[in-house]
Every structure is written in C-alpha cells, then in structure tokens.
C-alpha cells in the first residue's frame, strides 16, 4: 500500500463575494516529491486556490485531500493543526517577523507544534546551513537582503518536514538572478526531502523549473501545451 498522495483535489469551485466565478470543476493530483507550477492571469484565483489548499478559506464545492485527509471533514482547529504538521509556506512578501532572529523565525513551525525551544533552534540552525545562512542564526531580519529573507523563509517552510510546500510568487520581490537562485534552492531542498511543491507564479522562468506547469482558468487547470 503506497502512501496517500500529498495533495488531491476534485471538482473544486470558488466564487468571490461579488458573485464572479473564479473556477469550477478543478482537479489536481500531486505525487510525492513532485513540483507543480500554476500560472494564470492576475485575478484568475491563484492565491485563492492556495488559500483553499491551506484550509484558510472554504470552497463553494468539491473536495481537497491533504495526505489523504479531506479538508471538508475538519474543523478550524483541526485544519490549523494540519497546516502546522503537513504544510510549509513561502510567500512573495517573505513574512519574516522583524523582531525574531533568523533561527527563531525558522524554528516557528516547530515551536508552534510544541517542540522545546533549544531543540527547535538546533533544527533551525541545520536548515539555515542548508540554505546557505550558516552562522547567521542570531541575526535579525533587518540586516538581510531580499534573497536572504526568502532563503530564511525556505528554511522555515522545510524545518518541520512537511509533505507539501505552498509557494505564492516566491520570486516576485527578487531581482532575476536572486530569483533563480532562490527558486533552485527551494526546489532542490524540497525534492531532496521528498516534499511536493505547489508553486503559484506568473514568472515563466519559475514555471519552467517545475516538473509540470498548469494554467488556471475559469474551468480549472489545463496543460498549456495541450491545445
């Protein structure tokens, strides 16, 4: 019996408050260690899709399974716990807390799961080494460049060994060269740890780095090369 898929979506639909339908009948399957990029026009609902997958928003129809568990069957506290255990996040705006050190920022998912402080910081330090920020554990974010901030975010997304990483325009705030390096780091790190990545981006270069690229439209996801 194989492990349940990190992400499985069936017949998902979402309508924004104004009544506009974002998408309908959306299906998606991610296998372990697979990186899928989702592109689409602004306002197509890419971020909304990520929010739905993260359990931060509720769909109007359809079902999402993360690691084999259906989100519709979970209450808010259970969804919060699922996020904490199964998901990693990388944001366009980094969202590194300015008054915590890099190690503390990185260790947040572990600490939220109740891991004791020193243990969590030690794990965070390992991850920071892995993203090339070894020795900077005690630094505060104000002294970091955008690329360094995003690398910290990548370390944070991986520190608790989630099965699925949700990345929302991770390269949007970075110059092209830094963007390439950051993305490569994220994908390499994820793959080497067997984590799947759902990457929302409108950067063609970013999409090219994925195993698969899908375009989000009103009728769901489609392969850009298939007609």
């Amino acid at each position: 019996m194989s492990l349940p898929a990190p992400l499985r979506i069936r017949d998902l639909s979402k309508t924004v408050p104004g009544g506009r339908v974002l998408f309908e009948g959306l299906d998606l399957d991610l296998s372990a260690g697979e990186v899928v990029a989702i592109t689409g026009e602004s306002g197509a609902g890419k971020s909304s899709l990520l929010n739905l997958v993260a359990g931060l928003d509720a769909p109007d129809g359809g079902e999402i399974w993360i690691g084999g568990r259906a989100l519709s069957g979970l209450n808010e506290a259970e969804r919060t716990r699922l996020r904490r255990e199964q998901l990693g996040f990388v944001f366009q705006a980094f969202h590194i807390l300015p008054h915590l050190t890099l190690a503390q920022n990185t260790a947040l998912p572990l600490v939220l799961a109740g891991v004791e402080g020193d243990t969590a910081l030690a794990r965070a330090a390992e991850l920071l080494v892995a993203v090339g920020l070894g020795g900077r554990e005690a630094d505060f974010p104000s002294r970091l460049s955008g690329g360094e901030l995003q690398r910290t975010a990548i370390a944070r997304a991986l520190v608790h060994q989630p099965g699925l990483i949700l990345a929302d325009e991770p390269t949007g705030n970075l110059d092209p060269e830094t963007a390439d390096r950051s993305l490569a780091l994220l994908l390499d790190a994820a793959r080497s740890r067997g984590a799947s990545v759902l990457l929302v981006t409108h950067s063609v270069r970013a999409a090219e780095a994925a195993d698969r690229t899908l375009v989000l439209g009103r009728s769901g996801l489609r392969n850009p090369h298939a007609g």
Partner: protein
C-alpha cells in the same frame, strides 16, 4: 508527536521579548500607565491604613483596654460625683477617672494633659500608667521623680529627653491664659511616636488647671461575660446630660469617620487614575496589534490556533500588567512613605494633627492592588485580543492595517445607554454615608464618553476633510477621516485623563469660589482675635470691655466657641455663642435660606449646613443641647453655609448662652475699626491690652490675613488632588505620544509613497504635526465636555454626600482653555517628533519592502 498546545510557552517568550526589544518606549509607557494607577491606589491605601492604625493605637493607648467609656460632652467636663455612682454599679471590674485638658507647649504646639489616678488606671490604661519594672510600682512611667505628686510624665513627642545627671527638669504648659510649670518625673515610653502627651496625677491636674470637682472621662472595664449593652442600661440610668456613654466600636467609627469621606475620595481618584491606565493599555495594545496584524496572521497560517493567538495577546497585556503592578507597588510604597513624612497621615487635610504615623504594609493589600493593576491590563487587552484572534489570517496577511470603513457610522447606542445609567446613578442616595453611586456615575459617564469616541471622532473629523485648506491640512484631515477607528483608539486615554482633569478643575474652582465668598461673609469685621485652647476660660468680661474701649475700635463682638458632642458615635460639633446686631433678631451668618423666627419663650439655634444634613435637622425642629451640665431645648431657626467645620456647627445668641450657662467669658472677638484708624497701631494696642500669659496663646489677625491663610490651607489640602490629576494627564499625553509615534512608524510606507509622488519632507512633517494637533484638540474638546458632566456629578452629588456641604458652579475658563491648548500642542509636538524619526529612515526602501 507532542500534544497540541494552545499557546507554546517558547513562542510566548519569543514574541514578548521581541516586542519589548522592538518597541521599548511604547511598552514602557503602557507599563508606566499601569504603574501610575497602582502606585496611586496603593499609596493612598497605605497612607489611609497607616493613619488609621496610628489613630486606633492613639485611641487605645489613651483609653486602653476600656470596654466602654463615659465622656463629657464639652471640655468643661462633668461633676466628679458621677465617678462613685458609676464605680458602684455591679459588673464593672474597674473604673478609671480621667481629666483631659487641651493645652499647649511653650512652642505653641497642641499638648494633651491627662490627669489620672494611676492606681485606677493601671488596670485600664497600662500604657499611661505602666509599671515599667519592679520597684517603679504603679507609677506612671519610667524615671525617678521627686515631688512626684505634682510632676508630669512626658511622651517623646513633647521633645523632653531624660538627661542623666541633669538637675530636676521642669516643663511649662500653657492653657487658657495660664502658664504652669511642672517638675518632670520621667518619660512615657508606652506612648507611640508623634503624640504630645503630658500625664500627671489627677489631683494635681484638677488643682493646677482649676478644675477641682470636674472630670472629662471615665474608662470602664467590664466583668468578663458582661456585654457593653447590658452595662449600658445601668449606666445610662445614672448618666447626667453633660456626659455620654461611648463604646469602643462607636469610638473607632467616630475617629475613622473623621476623615473617611476625604480618604474615600482620594482612594476613588486613585482608582480612576488606574482606570485611565487601563484605557491607555487598551489604546497601546489596540495599536500594537493593528500594527502586527500580518505577524499574527503569519502565526495563524503557520499553525497557531485561534485560541492560542487570543491567549498570546492577553498574555502580552498581562506581562505589561505584572511589570506595571510590581513597579507600582514599589512606587506606591515610596510615595506613601514620602507623603507620610511630608504631609502627615491626612495628606495635608488637617484631620490628624501632631502625629507621624508609621508605614504599615500588608501583603494581602499589596496583592490586592497588584491584582487590580493586572486585571486592568488584561481587561485593556481583552478587546484587542478578541479582534486579533477573530481576523481572517489570509486577508490579514496581505493588509497591513484595517482602519475601518470611513462610511460606516459606528453605533452610538452603547454610549447612550452607559450615559443614561450614569445619569440615573447620579440621583441615587449615598451608601453608608459615602457617594458610591456618585462615583459609579462618574465611571459610567467616563465609559460612555470613551464608548462614544469612534462615533464622535467621525463627527468631529469629517468636516475637517471637506475644508478648503493648504495641502498638509487636507492631507492630515483626510488621513484622520480615513482611519477614524485608529483616531478613536488613540483618543481613549487622552479623553479619559483630560475629562478627569477638567472635572476636578471644575469642582475645585467651584469649591474655592464658594469658600472665598463664605470667608468674606463670615469675616465682616476688621480684626479677629482668638485665644487658643481656652474653651472654658479666655477673655473675662473686664478684658472684653477693655478691648472694646481701645482707641480706634468702634465695635466689638465677643464670642464663645466650644466643642460638644451631639451623638456619641459622631465627632464633636462646634457651638458658637455670637451676638446679634442691635435692632435685629438674627446674627450675621452666610445664610443658606432666610432664617425663620421662633415662638415666644423659645430659644433659637442656627445650624450649619453639614450639621443640618448629618443630624437631619431643618428649621422648626427641636434640638436638645447639653449645656452647663443639663439638657437645654432649642428651636432650629435657620441653616447657614459652613466650609470650616465638616462635622457641624451651631450658633446661639450670646445672651441666650450667658443666660443658660452663666459663662460670660469669651475666647473669640471681632473688632471693627474706625475708618481712619491705623490698623497696625490698633493691632499693637490690642496685643498690649492682653495680659502677658494670655497674649502668648492669642492669635490676632486682620480679616484679610485670615482669609488668605484659610485659602492657603484650602489650596494645600487640594495640592495632592492636583498632583494626582497632573500625573493622570501626563500619562494621557504619554499615551498620545506613544500612539502617535506608533502610528507614524507604522505609516513609513505611506510617507514613502507621499515622497514618491512629490510631497516635501516639510509638508509631511507639517501634516503629521497637524494630525497630532487635530487629535489633541478633538481629545481635549471631548474630554472637556465629558469633564463638565463628571464635574457636575462631583459638585452636585459627591461633595454634598461626602462632606455635607453644597457649592455654586464656577467655570475655570483659564484652566480649561489652557488644558485644551496644552493637549493640542503636546500632541502636535509628539507627532512631529515621532515623524522626524520615521522620516529619517529610508523612505524609498520602506516602500520597496512591501510594495
């Protein structure tokens, strides 16, 4: 997998430490706000408690373990024949006769002379009749004396010290024009510090002070098992009208009643200061949370439960409370210590004279005040915590701050409900002699005002945005109008403290004006003369005539003023025997209502407003007065205003007084001078006309001087109140500084954008200053309106219920205008300062960060 913790302690520690490191000033202001409230509350409590404890021990050491006491209603005492009558009653273990005389030292300090029979007192008042060791027998105290039968034993506060090898010491006592020199037999170590007491043998005191046959007190110890009530029945049956039965409960009640209203008022003020601190914490936490909305949203996304976030914010508030409370307790103890040393137990109110109480700190009360501070801090964080936990994380992660919909009108109903309930509470009667509902009304009105701020901020700011004005003004107005909720939050603390300041200012100004008017009314003559500590002696008729005949004196009124007790459990009241001007039937007094006439054969008495309220007497009522050892029936014929004697005063016509008592002496006189007389010359003549002994304890002063002195005392007793208020306003302004600077720092992106679109640095600073000024002005105006309402409650409800006097409202326009100006300027200045530091950062980078 570890259990699912609602709030991991590691996270709490990191977040709290991080926040403090990032915003030390703002955190400190919130901590200080709590600390100030706790410190004031705790200090007032400590001062009260120490003063009360000191009071109680003073009562105990003088009345000892007496179960009940029989007291004279006037300083003239009662006939000593009562002593054996009481002593023979069954069930009394010991009866100690006492004569107590109010005298003065040569330095003019009040001195209580107590005459005791040590053989009787040793069982009842050991502190005064202490056997200090084998051999001293049942003597008064320490030391060996010669000629002890007419010697005095002196408490440490009299300044007398035993000096080994010194010859026989003597001590001079002044009373009623007499100077008496006593040999000193020793000290009274059993008397607590601060009390000036001279103890001598009862026979010597009766003889030397010319009180043979008189006693002022009997201390009674009951047989075990005999209750005071049972004994009281027996005693009351033989008690003459010039003596009263007092139980220790009644005594304790009386002494604590002395200053209770004053102390409760101060305590309430301190609580209000703490409440202001709570608003400031609310304000600070609200802004801090608005600023950190994305951070909290991130934690929620990363897996922090909703309940965990709620607890996180609450715990942050609690940590402010814990620090503030600890700081407040220390500061409060220090403050109390300083106040007790500087002003004495009554905070300068003049209620307990000649004593320096010892600071007493009880852990339970310290915990109570700390808990109060903590509770206020947590309560102040409650709404922000609920709001933070309720925010949807996905949206909050994107939007830096939600300022509320400017178009939406916030509800006014809660404020109106609070205000109405407050208004209703203002009409409720006092509880146990205290204006508790009055204070509830003030708290409710304050809460109503704060609750109305979101609505009020919109109403007041919206017109600003439509003004035609230079760019910075419009920018500032637009900014405030666009984020009215933030403005309202920033204004909470400011409105609360400004309102309280205005309320107190209004009350004090009204009070002072009324007192000033009253002083003019009661001091119509030119020169006043008062013999201190001479209620049964003073100016004899010959001396009165001599004074009236002095050149330059065109008129003279002699008065007798003495204290007596109308009810055993209440403090003594003052009886004034004053002349009635020729051709009229009523004396010159500041009448509250026109006096009435009494029936033929009846003797009129005119009562002061406090007495009328305390004893529920009105014109036409009968009043039985203990005078010269018997009970005299008088008819109340009028009520007059009196701010000088809180426990009540009565006036009778002097001719009636002389007829009833035979006492033709006087201890006060009012002299009217001829217009061309040299005042200084007449003063010297008056002084010269007095016998030397009497002159030493006679105060002679022109009316103007007395008025000034009275107002000075008034101002001093309110100085503490002013100081309290000033601290509250300082905290309020500090709160504005903190909120404005917090907002300014949070708006660095906005400034960066403005710089990008071409606004100059100066324009941005001007905009910020104007924003601050608008905020300060709105807060001041709202606070003053609120203060006017609360001030009216203080004037119309709290004062009459606490002190039993009324006053006319007088608006302190200068103070109110100055307050508005000061708050406006202070807000503008702090906004400007905060803006400068914000703009010094790289605005362009600030934009890039999150754009």
């Amino acid at each position: 997998m570890p259990a699912d913790p609602a709030l991991p302690p590691t996270l709490l520690g990191w977040m709290v430490r991080g926040e403090w490191r990032a915003n030390p000033v703002r955190t400190l202001v919130a901590v200080l706000a709590i600390a100030v409230g706790v410190a004031l509350g705790f200090a007032v409590h400590l001062v009260n408690r120490s003063a009360l404890a000191e009071f109680d021990s003073a009562v105990r050491s003088v009345s000892g373990s007496a179960d009940i006491r029989i007291e004279a209603v006037t300083p003239a005492g009662f006939d000593e024949a009562l002593y054996p009558r009481i002593a023979r009653l069954p069930g009394l273990v010991a009866v100690s006769p006492v004569i107590e005389i109010a005298a003065r030292t040569t330095a003019g300090d009040p001195l209580t002379v107590i005459g005791l029979d040590p053989l009787r007192a040793s069982r009842v008042t050991p502190a005064l009749a202490a056997a200090s060791g084998p051999g001293s027998g049942m003597g008064f105290g320490s030391g060996s004396g010669r000629g002890v039968e007419d010697a005095v034993w002196l408490s440490p506060a009299t300044g007398w010290r035993a000096e080994p090898g010194a010859g026989s010491a003597t001590f001079e006592i002044r009373e009623g024009g007499r100077r008496l020199v006593f040999p000193v037999a020793g000290g009274l170590p059993g008397v607590e510090a601060g009390r000036r007491i001279a103890v001598a043998d009862i026979a010597a005191v009766q003889q030397k002070f010319d009180r043979v046959g008189r006693l002022t007190r009997l201390d009674v110890m009951l047989a075990p098992g005999l209750g005071p009530d049972a004994a009281a029945q027996e005693i009351l049956a033989v008690l003459p009208p010039d003596a009263r039965l007092v139980t220790p409960e009644a005594e304790t009640r009386r002494t604590s009643d002395l200053s209770r209203a004053y102390r409760v008022n101060l305590g309430m003020l301190a609580m209000v200061a703490l409440l202001t601190g709570g608003f400031l914490v609310f304000s600070a936490q609200s802004l801090s949370i608005a600023r950190r909305r994305p951070a909290f949203a991130l934690l929620r996304v990363l897996g922090l439960q909703r309940r965990g976030l709620f607890l996180q914010v609450l715990a942050e508030g609690a940590s402010l409370g814990v620090l503030g409370a600890a700081l407040g307790l220390a500061a409060g103890a220090g403050l109390a210590w300083g106040v007790l040393g500087l002003l004495g137990g009554d905070l300068g109110g003049g209620y307990f004279s000649g004593s320096q109480p010892v600071l007493e700190i009880s852990p339970a009360w310290a915990a109570f005040h700390a808990g109060l501070g903590l509770a206020v801090a947590i309560a102040g964080s409650l709404f922000p915590a609920l709001e933070a936990a309720g925010a949807p994380p996905a949206e909050a992660l994107k939007a830096a701050g939600r300022s509320g919909d400017p178009e939406r009108r916030p509800p006014l109903v809660p404020a109106l409900v609070l205000g109405s309930v407050g208004l209703a509470a203002a009409f409720a009667p006092p509880v146990a002699g205290l204006p508790l509902f009055g204070y509830a009304a003030i708290a409710l009105i304050l809460a109503a005002g704060v609750a109305a701020m979101p609505w009020l901020a919109r109403v007041m700011i919206a017109p600003l945005a439509r003004m035609k004005a230079p760019v910075p003004v419009r920018l500032a107005a637009a900014r405030l109008a666009g984020a009215p909720d933030q403005a309202a939050v920033a204004l909470c603390g400011l409105v609360a403290s400004a309102g309280l300041m205005a309320a107190m200012g209004l009350m004090v100004s009204s009070f002072r004006g009324s007192v000033d008017e009253w002083l003019v009314a009661i001091l119509p003559a030119d020169i006043y003369l008062r013999v201190a500590a001479a209620e049964t002696s003073g100016l004899d008729p010959g001396l009165q005539a001599a004074l009236a005949a002095l050149p330059g004196v065109t008129g003279m009124e002699s008065r007798r003023s003495l204290t007596l007790k109308l009810a055993p459990e209440r403090p003594a009241v003052t009886l004034l025997a004053i002349p009635v001007p020729p051709g009229t039937s009523v004396p010159d007094l500041p009448w509250r209502r026109a006096p009435t006439t009494v029936g033929p054969g009846e003797t009129p008495v005119w009562i002061s407003e406090p007495l009328s309220r305390l004893y529920h007497l009105a014109p036409g009522d009968k009043l039985d007065l203990p005078l010269a050892g018997r009970s005299v029936r008088l008819r109340v014929a009028g009520v007059w205003r009196d701010y000088g004697r809180q426990f009540g005063a009565l006036a009778v016509q002097r001719s009636d007084y002389v007829r009833l008592t035979g006492d033709t002496g006087a201890n006060e006189a009012a002299l009217t001078l001829s217009p061309d007389a040299d005042r200084a010359e007449v003063l010297a003549r008056v002084r010269g006309a007095l016998p030397l002994d009497l002159a030493a304890q006679t105060e002679i002063a022109p009316a103007g001087e007395i008025r000034q002195a009275a107002l000075k005392i008034f101002d001093r007793s309110f100085a503490v109140t002013y100081a309290l208020e000033a601290v509250a306003v300082l905290v309020g302004v500090a709160g504005v500084a903190a909120t404005v600077s917090a907002q300014t720092l949070a708006r660095r992106r906005e400034f960066g954008m403005l710089r990008h679109v071409g606004a100059g640095r100066g324009q941005i600073l001007a905009m910020l200053a104007l924003e601050g000024a608008f905020l300060g002005a709105v807060g001041a105006v709202a606070g003053l309106a609120l203060g006017a309402a609360m001030g009216q409650v203080l004037i119309q409800v709290v004062n009459p219920q606490s002190f039993n006097w009324t006053m006319d409202t007088r608006w302190p326009w200068g103070l109110l205008g100055g307050l508005t100006l000061a708050l406006t300027l202070a807000s503008a200045l702090t906004a400007l300062l905060a803006g400068r530091s914000a703009l010094s950062a790289d605005a362009v980078r600030a934009v890039r960060e999150d754009w």
